[in-house]
């Protein structure tokens, strides 16, 4: 029998027992709705976590540092703490290294993570606090979604953004009043000293080759002041609180901070280790064009002799967690579908009994066992298709209701709305296909039973 005829006969048969087939279809719908609602929750939560982490800049960022632990350096007995690559690029994290990293394919920028302790004077009050540099790309961080005031007008602007807790310390009653105020930052500048003539100090200095007298570099520390205007106020820690600069309370543009040549903790190590008295960085944050290229960039940077760290491993753990969560949600959601599939078996077995004579007639007229089997499969599949489509619609409605309820709950507590349940298109398609497959599986027994009927017995059946 041709497919259109098969479907026409099947739909006619389904219409003949509209109530029973309708109830069975509703059973499938409930099962699929439960499955879709459960999975939409898992997918929504996964997307939410993914977005949060992605916007924290951790997924597309490689942290580059030059130094291994002191224990490692001692164990290796190496002076530089990192292997020197064949390319000859120094394993010192300085401006040259930064340029090399920035030239790597897929690397968008390599910004130093500069954090230091400074004194802030504002409105006659003085605070010792942590100050950090912020690159322009951090504007997309979710901490700036609720930015009051504005972001830095340029990468070198003498402007500051402060955390709310700092502003509250300044004025607990009216922290917003800090916006537009001028602050004075007092910091320690690292100023290089010219090389000392050999023997002047009377002390013997020793170079790497054991020769002495030509390795006397040094710097002095000078207290400096910088005037900035407070342009922005943020509540959250930038970068999801997962970088060292996240913990600062006052932020300046990285471009500006770099020009200040502020004394960093790495300068002490640099003074004893670097080949020359150049400026070095504690770490660089290399931003990659997509998370998929993080591993490749990490490898390239490691080949330069630097250490790297990315959140990629943590992401894999997170993905594994959500796969397991989805699996369990799917299993719980499928339970209703399993019950519904028993409904299909019951409906079709009843149909085989009721239509026994009709099956006999069809066989007497020339229907093969395969025709009969396909007819019952078509009926099961049609119920699955209808049930799947209705179920997806109900599941989508449940997901919307969950989102609406969550948004209402969050709004009551002054939080922005969040999408915790998502029904992507692939879930719509997969749920309908799954409903049809489950229905066809449920139809195997009744269809086989119908196909095996003895036509002579079936025709005599009253």
């Amino acid at each position: 029998m041709k497919l259109p005829d098969l479907l026409e006969l099947a739909s006619g048969n389904l219409r003949n027992s509209l109530l029973r087939n309708g109830l069975t279809t509703i059973g499938i719908s409930v099962g699929i709705a439960s499955l879709v609602a459960m999975l939409s929750l898992g997918i929504g939560l996964q997307q939410l976590a993914g977005q949060r982490l992605s916007r924290s800049g951790l997924f597309d960022t490689v942290v580059v540092s030059a130094w291994r632990s002191v224990e490692q350096m001692e164990r290796d007995g190496r002076r530089d703490g990192a292997p020197l690559p064949a390319s000859g690029i120094p394993a010192v994290l300085d401006e040259d290294a930064r340029r090399h990293i920035e030239q790597l394919p897929a690397v968008l920028e390599a910004q130093p993570e500069i954090r230091f302790v400074g004194e802030i004077r504002i409105g006659g009050e003085s605070f010792i606090t942590s100050v950090a540099g912020l690159p322009p790309s951090s504007r997309n961080d979710e901490a700036f979604d609720s930015l009051q005031g504005s972001f830095f007008s340029s990468p070198q602007a003498a402007e500051a953004i402060v955390r709310l807790e700092f502003a509250e310390e300044w004025d607990e009653q009216n922290p917003r009043a800090i916006l537009g105020k001028e602050l004075v930052l007092r910091y320690a500048e690292r100023r290089p000293l010219p090389p000392e003539p050999a023997g002047d100090s009377g002390l013997s200095t020793e170079g790497s080759d054991g020769e002495s007298g030509d390795d006397s570099y040094g710097f002095t520390v000078v207290r400096r002041e910088l005037r900035c205007r407070v342009v922005g106020l943020i509540e959250q820690e930038p970068f999801g609180g997962m970088r060292s600069s996240s913990r600062a309370r006052v932020y300046l543009p990285t471009g500006l901070v770099e020009t200040l040549d502020i004394m960093q903790s790495s300068d002490m190590r640099g003074a004893v280790q670097a080949e020359r008295m150049q400026k070095t960085y504690d770490s660089l944050m290399a931003r990659v064009s997509s998370p998929a290229q993080v591993a490749e960039v990490e490898q390239a940077i490691r080949r330069m002799g630097f250490r790297t760290f990315s959140i990629l491993d943590a992401t894999r753990s997170l993905q594994r967690f959500f796969v397991i969560l989805d699996l369990f949600l799917g299993i719980f959601g499928s339970m209703a579908l399993a019950v519904a599939s028993l409904g299909i078996v019951n409906t079709l077995v009843m149909a085989v009994l009721e239509r026994r004579r009709e099956i006999g007639i069809l066989k007497a007229l020339g229907a093969s066992d395969g025709d009969i089997r396909r007819l019952f499969f078509a009926e099961a599949g049609a119920m699955g298709l209808a049930g799947g489509a209705i179920g997806v619609a109900i599941g989508w409605g449940i997901a919307r209701a969950i989102n609406w309820g969550t948004a209402y709950y969050l709004a009551q507590r002054d939080f922005p709305p969040e999408t915790v349940a998502a029904v992507p298109w692939w879930l719509v398609g997969a749920a309908v296909v799954f409903a049809v497959l489950v229905s066809l599986a449920a139809g195997i027994y009744p269809a086989s039973r119908a196909a095996r009927l003895d036509p002579v017995q079936a025709i005599r059946y009253e």
Binding site: K2, R357, L362, A364, L365, G366
Partner: protein, 241 residues
């Protein structure tokens, strides 16, 4: 569409030493026992005998609805024994048409759809199907009732629909299992006239199972008597209509 059997091809029936036994609990039912007979192409034969004599079982064996325990059934040159269920289905689709005592129409389908069923199974094109259904309904005089459901028809009309359904695939052999059993004598007569007309005008071989000897004598050309699963006698009918 699979190639249908034209009524003009060899439509003879040859049965040799046919046996059909059933096991009913501990009892062995010898429904058909060593039956051999031949029905020539275009012949109208009637199988007569008391209930349980094996007439219907023999007809089911000829229709390929049942499989013999032993012996041979050859219809239109085709040996049925050993055919697969798929091959038997194809044989029923194209070589034989069947009419039953209980009409056996599908109650949920309209008259047109009931008659169309064998054509759907044979995968005939939709346009061709309509023409063939109308032709079959016209032959039995029920074109006006084609949109009715079986429950809205009289017994005689239902049997005429069943006959149209049996004819629609233009089978070589028409097998009728007590087609007048549920009808009054006048309506039964009409059905017999239609069967005789099919035999005469279309050249179909007709095998009729009945226990109404007068009707059989009037319309069939040969009477085959059965008892206890065996053919006890075979003779030309006394008065052909």
């Amino acid at each position: 569409m699979d190639t249908p059997q034209a009524a003009t091809v060899d439509s003879s029936i040859r049965v040799e030493r046919l046996v059909r036994h059933y096991q009913l609990g501990p009892e062995l039912i010898r429904a058909v026992e060593d039956v051999s007979l031949e029905v020539a192409a275009g012949e109208f034969a009637a199988l007569l005998g008391p209930s349980g004599s094996g007439k219907s079982t023999l007809l089911h064996l000829l229709a390929g609805l049942d499989t013999p325990t032993s012996g041979s059934v050859r219809v239109a040159g085709k040996e049925l024994r050993g055919l697969s269920s798929e091959e038997l289905a194809r044989y029923r689709r194209h070589t034989v048409g069947m009419v039953f005592q209980a009409f056996n129409l599908v109650p949920s389908l309209r008259v047109f759809e009931n008659v169309e069923l064998p054509l759907r199974l044979a995968e005939a094109e939709r346009a061709e199907r309509r023409a063939r259904v109308l032709e079959a309904l016209e032959r039995v005089g029920l074109t006006a009732r084609m949109h009715h459901r079986p429950a809205e028809l009289s017994g005689g009309e239902q049997q005429r629909v069943a006959l149209a359904r049996a004819l629609v695939n233009r089978p070589a052999v028409l097998l009728a299992d007590e087609p007048t059993g549920n009808l009054d004598s006048r309506t039964g007569e009409q059905i017999m006239q239609l069967l005789e007309q099919c035999n005469r005008t279309l050249g179909m071989t007709v095998v009729l199972v009945t226990h109404e000897r007068p009707l059989a004598e009037r319309y069939a050309r040969r009477l085959i008597f059965m008892a206890d699963g065996r053919v006890v006698s075979s003779a030309a009918a006394a008065g052909i209509a």
